[in-house]
C-alpha cells in the first residue's frame, strides 16, 4: 500500500514530535488529568481559548502554569473579583509628572498564557474586556493599540458549585471559547501519587521542551492536515442535528434543545479535530478525531430548554444522543 498524502504525514510526524515530549514533561508535575492536558494542547494548537469547569483543587492553575513553563512562555494568573476593573486587566494610562506625558501601563493580559480564575465573579464590563482581547488579539489603551503576544491562550475557570454573587457569562461570550472542559477528580492511584509528590517524598522538576516558535510552526503544519469531504459532512451533520434534530430522526431531543450550535461550532469542531489528529501524529482526520472533541466543542454551545432542565437532561446527554444517531462515514 502506498500513501497518497505521504508528504503531509511525514511533515506532521516531524512537527508533532514535541507533543509526546511535552505531555511527558507536564505529567511530571501534573499527575493524571491526561484529558485536560490534551485539551490544553488542542486549544494551543488550534489557537482557541478554553473554559475550564471543575471544583477547586483539581490542578487547573498548576496545569496552565506548567504548560507555560514547558513552552517557555509568559504566564499570568488573574483572579476575577467583583471589584475588578477593565483597566486592571488590559492596562491604563498613567500621567508622568516628570515628562508631563501619559505613559502606558500594560496590564496582566500581556502574556502568552492567561488564567482568568473564576471569570464569573467579575461584572460584565471586565468579562467583555477580556473576551474582546481574546477575539481581537489586541488591546487598545488610550489611543494606542497593542498586539498581544503569540501564542495567546486564555484559560478561564468557573466554579460550578458556588453560584451566589456571580455574573454568569452570556451565551454570546461563552461561544467565544473554543472548548469547555469539565474536569473530574483524579483516580485513587493518581491521587496517591499527587499526595506523595506534594509531601516531598518525590521531587520532579520539569524542563522547557518547546519554544513558542515551535508552537507557531506546529500551528502552520496543523493547517495542512487533510480533512476529507466525508469528515466535513460528518461535522456538518453533527452541528445541524443540534439545530434541527427532527431532520436526523432525533424527535426525542427536539423539545430539549432551546437553540443549537453556531457556525463557530462548526469551525471549532473542524479545527479541534485537526488538532487532535496532530496530537495523534496523523496527517489526516478520521471520525475518531471529530468524536474526541465533539463534547468539548459543543457542550457550551447547545442550550437546553427548561423542560430538559426539569428532566435533568444536560447538553452533554443531548450531544451524546446526537453522536450515537449520526451515521459515521
Amino acid at each position: 500500500m502506498q500513501y497518497d498524502i505521504k508528504t503531509i504525514n511525514e511533515k506532521i510526524q516531524k512537527e508533532s514530535a514535541f507533543v509526546d515530549l511535552l505531555i511527558m514533561e507536564i505529567s511530571k508535575v501534573i499527575v493524571g488529568q491526561k484529558y485536560m492536558t490534551e485539551r490544553l494542547l488542542i486549544g494551543l494548537l488550534a489557537n482557541g481559548h478554553i473554559l475550564l469547569e471543575g471544583v477547586p483543587g483539581l490542578a487547573k492553575t498548576l496545569a496552565v502554569k506548567t504548560l507555560a513553563q514547558a513552552i517557555q512562555a509568559k504566564f499570568q494568573r488573574i483572579q476575577f473579583t467583583p471589584d475588578l476593573l477593565p483597566a486592571d486587566l488590559v492596562g491604563t494610562l498613567i500621567y508622568n509628572q516628570k515628562d508631563s506625558k501619559f505613559q502606558t501601563k500594560k496590564g496582566p493580559i500581556f502574556a502568552n498564557f492567561i488564567l482568568a480564575d473564576e471569570i464569573n465573579r467579575s461584572p460584565a464590563k471586565v468579562q467583555s474586556a477580556l473576551l474582546e482581547a481574546m477575539q481581537e488579539r489586541q488591546v487598545t489603551i488610550g489611543e494606542e493599540t497593542f498586539k498581544l503576544d503569540e501564542p495567546f491562550l486564555v484559560l478561564a475557570t468557573q466554579n460550578p458549585i458556588e453560584q451566589e454573587g456571580t455574573y454568569p457569562l452570556p451565551e454570546a461570550q461563552v461561544d467565544r471559547f473554543m472548548l469547555k472542559i469539565k474536569i473530574d477528580y483524579p483516580s485513587k492511584d493518581e491521587e496517591l501519587q499527587i499526595m506523595r509528590q506534594n509531601i516531598g517524598t518525590q521531587n520532579n522538576t520539569m524542563k522547557t521542551v518547546v519554544s513558542p516558535k515551535d508552537i507557531l510552526r506546529a500551528r502552520a503544519a496543523m493547517n495542512e492536515i487533510y480533512m476529507d469531504e466525508k469528515i466535513e459532512r460528518y461535522i456538518l451533520d453533527i452541528v445541524f442535528a443540534t439545530r434541527a434534530p427532527k431532520d436526523y430522526g432525533l424527535d426525542n431531543v427536539t423539545q430539549l434543545i432551546s437553540y443549537g450550535a453556531s457556525p463557530r461550532a462548526t469551525i471549532n469542531l473542524a479545527l479541534g479535530a485537526k488538532a487532535y489528529a496532530f496530537i495523534k501524529r496523523r496527517g489526516y482526520v478520521i471520525p475518531e478525531d471529530v468524536r474526541a472533541v465533539s463534547l468539548d466543542v459543543l457542550r457550551h454551545r447547545v442550550a437546553v430548554t427548561y423542560e430538559a432542565e426539569a428532566e435533568e437532561v444536560t447538553s452533554e446527554n443531548i450531544i451524546q444522543e446526537i453522536l450515537n444517531k449520526i451515521e459515521v462515514p
Partner: protein, 347 residues
C-alpha cells in the same frame, strides 16, 4: 189703642197657626229620622245575614307545644266572593305550623268555604285567638265588606314536672323514616356510579387491548445472508475498476458494519473503527478474525479519509476478505440429532 187691639186679635189668630205649623214640623222630622234609622238598620241586618264566619278548634285544652286544628267556616250565598287574608306565620299568639288551602261545598243556594290551620303554642296559660276577619264582595258591588268570627279561647297547660325524680338528659334526635323521594335519589346516585364505573372499566379494557392489526410477518433474513448477497453484488458492480475506489471502500465497509449491527447487536453504523473494535472485544471471536476486521476497517479508513491509494491487488482482495469474515462469524445452528450424531451446520 185701636191698632193695638187689632194686633192682639191678629196675634191671637196667628198664634194658633204657628203652633200648628210647629207641631207639623216636629212630626215630619220625627218621621224622617224614624224612617232613616229603620232603613239603615234593615240594610245592616240584611248584609250581616248574607255572610257568617265561625271559628272552631278541635280542642280547647292543649299541652304546651301540642298541635291543634283551628277551622274557619264561612257561609254565604252564591254570588258572594270571599277574600281570604294571607296569614304569614301566626294567628294572634299562636304559631301557624301548617295551613290548608280553602275548600268549598255548596248546598241550597249557600256556599260554605272552609280553611284549616294547624297551630301550636309554646307558652302556658289562657290564650285567645282573635276574631278571624274575611273580606267579601257581592255581585255588582265593588265595595269590600268585612265579616269576622268570634274569638276562641284555649287553655294551654304546661307539662307537669316530677321534682322528686332526678334531672334527665335531653332526648336524642328522632330519626325520621326514609321517604320514597330520598330512596329514589340514593338509588339514582348508586346507579350513576355503577354506570360510570362500567364506562371506566370498558375504556381501560379497550385501551389495554388495542385492536390487533394483523400484519403479515415477512420471514426475517439473517444479517449474514444479506451481507453476503450485498458483497457479491458490490463485487459485480466493479466500482473500483471504474476508478471509484473511495466509493468502493465506503460501500464495502458499510455492508460490513451493517452486518456487525445485525449480527452482534452493536450500533456499528454510528461507531468509529476504534469504537467498533472496543465493542467486539466483548464478543467471543477468534483473535485472528478480530485482527482481520481491525485491519480491514483501518485500511478502509485510510482510503476513505487519507487519500490512500491501495493497489489493485488490495482492491481485488477486499471483497473475498470481507466474505471470509462474514462466513467465519455467522451463527452456527445445531441440527437435530440424526442417527445418534449431532451435526453443526452453517445456516
Amino acid at each position: 189703642m185701636k191698632s193695638y187691639m187689632k194686633y192682639k186679635v191678629w196675634s191671637k189668630e196667628h198664634g194658633t197657626w204657628r203652633k200648628f205649623l210647629y207641631t207639623l214640623y216636629s212630626l215630619l222630622l220625627t218621621l224622617y229620622f224614624l224612617f232613616f234609622s229603620v232603613s239603615s238598620a234593615q240594610a245592616n241586618e240584611g248584609t250581616a245575614a248574607h255572610v257568617s264566619v265561625s271559628a272552631t278548634t278541635d280542642s280547647s285544652h292543649i299541652t304546651i307545644g301540642d298541635w291543634f286544628h283551628y277551622t274557619i267556616n264561612v257561609r254565604h250565598p252564591s254570588g258572594v266572593t270571599i277574600l281570604w287574608k294571607q296569614n304569614a306565620d301566626s294567628l294572634g299568639a299562636c304559631t301557624i305550623v301548617q295551613q290548608d288551602s280553602v275548600s268549598k261545598t255548596e248546598s241550597s243556594g249557600f256556599v260554605t268555604e272552609q280553611k284549616s290551620f294547624t297551630l301550636s303554642k309554646y307558652d302556658a296559660g289562657t290564650i285567645t285567638i282573635p276574631p278571624f276577619t274575611v273580606g267579601y264582595t257581592t255581585t255588582g258591588d265593588t265595595t269590600i265588606h268585612e265579616a269576622e268570627s268570634e274569638p276562641v279561647t284555649i287553655q294551654v297547660a304546661t307539662v307537669a314536672v316530677d321534682t322528686t325524680q332526678g334531672i334527665k338528659d335531653i332526648k336524642p334526635p328522632l330519626s325520621l323514616p326514609w321517604t320514597w323521594k330520598e330512596i329514589a335519589m340514593y338509588a339514582g346516585i348508586l346507579l350513576l356510579l355503577c354506570v360510570l364505573a362500567y364506562l371506566v372499566y370498558y375504556y381501560m379494557k379497550k385501551r389495554r387491548k388495542p385492536e390487533e392489526i394483523v400484519v403479515e410477518e415477512k420471514p426475517k433474513v439473517p444479517p449474514h445472508v444479506t451481507a453476503l448477497v450485498q458483497l457479491r453484488e458490490l463485487e459485480a458492480e466493479r466500482i473500483w475498476q471504474r476508478g471509484e475506489i473511495k466509493l468502493f471502500y465506503s460501500k464495502a465497509t458499510e455492508i460490513l458494519r451493517s452486518y456487525f449491527e445485525g449480527r452482534f447487536g452493536i450500533t456499528a453504523l454510528e461507531m468509529t473503527t476504534d469504537e467498533i473494535m472496543n465493542q467486539l472485544q466483548h464478543v467471543t471471536l477468534p483473535k485472528e478474525i478480530k485482527k482481520e476486521i481491525n485491519e480491514m476497517l483501518t485500511s478502509a479508513d485510510f482510503v476513505k479519509f487519507a487519500k490512500f491509494a491501495p493497489t489493485p491487488a488490495d482492491n481485488d482482495e477486499f471483497i473475498p476478505r470481507a466474505i471470509k469474515i462474514v462466513e467465519a462469524t455467522k451463527p452456527v445452528v445445531e441440527n437435530p440429532v440424526t442417527e445418534g450424531k449431532e451435526a453443526a451446520v452453517n445456516v
